[in-house]
């Protein structure tokens, strides 16, 4: 399946490799066919004693007369990838150079691995041994994008060889989901940031006017209010503070279509939220409930974003009894942090974790990333099972609601800002 998206990856982490390929030359299928034809023509000419049947052997005889050039036993093949670190959906260009082919024909073919698509339109090169290929990585992870097949042949393609070699590994990060709104979800810390706090301060958001006090700056005097009230009045502004956001990704179960499983959606959504809040000078941390409990304490800036993306690549879906996930690590959860949980809500163990978080008075929002279409048909038992499953999920949602935890559904297609904007800060607790 070929795709032609127009977005090439930036030149990040250019990877290059050079290897000596050993060539195993063999008779081509074309030569074999011509040989059989010649043999049949000559044999039947002798058996039937008809000279005109020799005509069938003519092309093979011509080719046999043309076998002259020695075939190289090895060639040097160099690869140069335009990027070794990409986000899902980005293109990588591979330049393949084959040296030492001694005027033999060369073709380079790309055999993409699973989750990788060859991109149509590339393939040209500046010389016969130089090819430019492109592929698009559609699935996050550390993976080899596939293999390159170097096909070589002699002048009339009587002999040919096919050599395969793997391309260097490419690190593909989950594509951050579109998310623009950096709302203050919980209590604001006492660090400066971009969120308007309720306390007065040196921000830009106008709060009101009050009477002038010694020490106030002259530039903050509100002359219109002063004229009306007859006494000096000054403008007051809201302080700007940052918040701590902790993203919890539930990777205990991973269900759904390949490429948009619950874990894929959870990681994309978490990265989208992380990018937005880090852009708003907030601190963002991460807890991954997976085969191994992974967590990163909250941090700020681009470096933290890349630490988060790298940490997400380590996730392995599953659950280990060695880790007690009912209690999230304290070091990963600073007091007053807002917690955004990305989960398919298929495991009740997570409910215990969320209950613990609410008891520790954290503001929690759950994003339900499950997208499973169970259909409508089926036998009576199928319908019954489907109904029970729906009721269990409704019960789970109800218990979360009882804990004061709002749940929003998000399936990875629409921008994440829409459901998240419905939640506003309300006395340290979130509400729908």
């Amino acid at each position: 399946m070929l795709a032609s998206p127009p977005r090439p990856a930036p030149l990040v982490g250019v990877a290059a490799a050079s290897i000596e390929l050993h060539l195993a030359w063999g008779v081509s299928a074309h030569a074999r066919r011509l040989f059989y034809l010649a043999l049949a023509g000559l044999g039947l000419a002798v058996v039937t004693r008809r000279a005109e049947l020799v005509a069938f052997a003519v092309p093979a005889l011509v080719l046999l007369g043309a076998w002259r050039a020695p075939r190289p036993p090895t060639v040097r093949t160099s690869f140069r990838l335009s990027a070794s670190r990409v986000y899902e959906g980005e293109q990588v260009v591979v330049e393949v150079t084959v040296e030492g082919n001694n005027d033999h024909g060369v073709e380079v073919l790309l055999h993409p691995a699973e989750g990788v698509q060859a991109v149509r339109g590339e393939g040209g090169g500046t010389s016969p041994g130089h090819r430019v290929l492109a592929f698009q990585v559609d699935q996050w992870g550390r993976r080899s994008p596939g293999a390159v097949e170097v096909v070589m042949w002699d002048r009339y393609r009587m002999f040919e060889c096919h050599s395969f070699t793997s391309l260097p590994k490419v690190v593909c990060y989950p594509r951050p989901a579109p998310h623009r709104s950096a709302l203050a979800l919980g209590r604001l810390a006492s660090r400066s940031g971009d969120h308007a706090a309720r306390s007065p301060g040196e921000g830009v958001e106008f709060v009101g006017v009050r009477q002038y006090a010694p020490g106030d700056r002259h530039r903050s005097i509100n002359w219109a209010a002063t004229t009306r009230r007859g006494r000096l009045q000054v403008n007051t502004f809201a302080a700007e503070r940052s918040q701590d956001i902790v993203l919890i990704v539930d990777a205990i179960s991973d269900v759904g279509r390949r490429g948009s499983t619950s874990l894929d959606n959870a990681l994309r959504g978490a990265l989208g939220v992380a990018r937005t809040y880090l852009g708003a000078r907030d601190r963002v941390g991460l807890v991954l409930f997976s085969k191994r409990l992974l967590w990163l304490p909250p941090g700020m800036g681009n470096r933290q974003f890349f630490r988060l993306t790298e940490a997400m690549l380590e996730v392995v879906p599953g659950w280990s009894s060695d880790d007690d996930i009912r209690r999230a690590p304290r070091a990963a959860l600073p007091p007053g942090a807002s917690v955004i949980v990305f989960s398919p809500l298929l495991d009740t163990k997570l409910v215990e974790t969320l209950r613990d978080l609410r008891q520790r008075s954290f503001s929690v929002v759950v994003v339900d990333v499950l997208e499973v279409d169970l259909g409508r048909g089926g036998s009576r038992l199928d319908r019954l099972a489907r109904r029970i499953w729906h009721m269990e999920r409704q019960a789970l949602m109800f218990s979360l609601g009882e804990l004061g935890i709002p749940v929003v559904a998000w399936h990875g297609e629409e921008p994440l800002a829409l459901p998240a904007q419905r939640h506003e800060r309300h006395g340290g607790r979130s509400r729908v």
């Binding site: 034809l37 000279a51 005109e52 020799v54």
Partner: protein, 179 residues
Amino acid sequence: MRRIAVAALLGAASTAWSALPLTGTGAPGVLLVVVAGACVLAGVVRLLAHPAASRSRFSMAFSAVLGTSGPTLRRAGPESVAAVSMVALEALHHSRPWHTGLMALVLVSYLLAVHEAESPVPAALWRQDARLLVVSVPLVVVATGVAMVPTAGSGATSEWLEIIAALAAISAGALALPV
């Protein structure tokens, strides 16, 4: 896909030409069925191997019918079976030498078209293959011409001499040609 269509058309032309004159019974009839079947199978296997067609509904249905025998069939070479059967059919027909000469050219064209169709290189080989075909034409003419020259005597010796003369003429011509 176009190259596969060209190969299929040349295969059909070779089959039709080798079937003439039509007898329909006995060994020629059986060989004709073998030729036609091998040509169709070659086309279908080639079509299934094509990346553009491999995801079509027809391709998937045919792959399900063939199971895992598709690559095995391709390795067995239905084109080779078709080519050898066509030569055998031509030998059974007792045709005139010019008919056999033309048959040889059409058959070689078919095999070259198959070679083009299976090649991953887009239309890079055709120039060399066409050159080979052009070079083969005078040699085929020599072979058929030798067969059409009336022999001095009759019997096995003169027929053997005719074959040897044809081979010698072709070998001399092949060595003299600048390929």
